[in-house]
Symmetry: C2
Subunit: 229 residues, 2 copies
């Protein structure tokens, strides 16, 4: 029998409603300006169900996942709310991020190809341009893209998954603060230094610079984001 002839694609409908609901909800939370509005944001389970066109069960399971990831909080017989991290929690998250990104830089040096370095350079350039244009939103996104580039180039999907969770909140914070102050300039210099260390294949230096760079953000939030809490 000729198997090659009938090589159909594996029918990738495998995604369950639960997975779809999860992606949809997470996407919605990512887009939403969490720290912008003052009142707590409540999610209506049944309303979401009819919006998604599925029953409560898959939506509830998706919500359970989001709750475990720390995006939402469920109060029995009260409602489901999008969580607003406290300042301390954000600092903690960014600190963990610093550790992970530092390790990512280390891994990057160990098994980085030149083309990956090229990609990073590209991300950096885009970042710089975005800053020059003073489009804050683009700047913020490009900033995150830069960080994600390092993480992804490290080849560790585990680090990637973990940092993605944090970036959602960091992006939200950025969107809320907007007042970047002098962090933008400093950031650019630090990013340049990081690329330099990566290009030089200096694992220790790269890790230290990445770590300190991100810890700098933690300090920034610690000092200037008193409006949280």
């Amino acid at each position: 029998m000729n198997r090659e002839r009938f090589a159909v694609e594996p029918l990738e409908q495998g995604m369950s409603f639960k997975a779809k609901a999860y992606q949809s909800l997470r996407q919605a939370i990512t887009q939403m300006n969490i720290y912008g509005q003052s009142s707590e944001i409540r999610l209506d389970e049944r309303r979401l169900c009819e919006a998604l066109g599925v029953s409560r069960t898959p939506v509830r399971e998706a919500m359970a996942l989001l709750e475990q990831e720390g995006f939402i909080r469920s109060q029995p017989r009260r409602g489901i709310f999008v969580v607003r991290k406290t300042k301390a929690e954000l600092v903690e998250m960014i600190t963990v991020c610093a550790a992970l990104e530092g390790m990512a830089a280390r891994l990057f040096v160990e098994n980085a190809t030149t083309e990956k370095l090229e990609l990073l350079h590209a991300a950096f350039d885009k970042y710089t341009k975005a800053e020059l244009a003073e489009h804050v939103a683009e700047y913020s996104d490009a900033n995150i893209v830069f960080h994600q580039s390092i993480v992804q180039a490290s080849g560790s999907s585990l680090i990637s998954d973990l940092t993605d969770r944090f970036f959602i909140h960091m992006r939200a914070i950025r969107r809320a603060t907007m007042g970047l102050g002098d962090r933008a300039d400093q950031s650019i210099h630090e990013h340049r230094d990081i690329i330099e260390a990566l290009a030089a294949r200096d694992a220790d230096l790269a890790e230290r610079r990445v770590r300190e760079h991100t810890l700098g953000l933690a300090q920034y939030v610690e000092r200037h984001c008193a409006f949280l809490d």
Copy 2:
């Protein structure tokens, strides 16, 4: 109305069945010797339900959480299986662990009290004794306790949560390998050095030693655990 008189305890039955099921299942997975048996371990949803005395819904929600954490894998209409991490995944996990523990050591130095250092010393002593007694299981547990001590002393519950997930697999691996080789002696020395750096309040040194110590475990698994996969 005198409210103090009737101050009964807050009726800590607030835990939902879902949470109970989650704890129970996680506990079961932790205890089980994942890498010991050759065949895949399957979980029967309905059997578990009747064992726990609840319906499928809370059990399924608990399983969804465990699946997201990477402990189990659900194949539609096939079954639910306890995942056996590949060697690469384990190495990745341990690498992330190294980054997190390194950061924990750094935080430890920054805000460690002397009493916390005492606790760490105690953990180390227990660890040493366990090794001397050559009770492998105790040795392994004490080893993990040592690592957890640093993490908990860092004060970051986020790091604690993340590493806990990994320790379950690392413990399972330890149980399966058993042949400790010369890692035990080396471990002890490295632990001693770590405590020394922590006591000296040298953040950089402590972080580096912790990181390299755990990365050493990653290398060990990489080299000597070919039986995985």
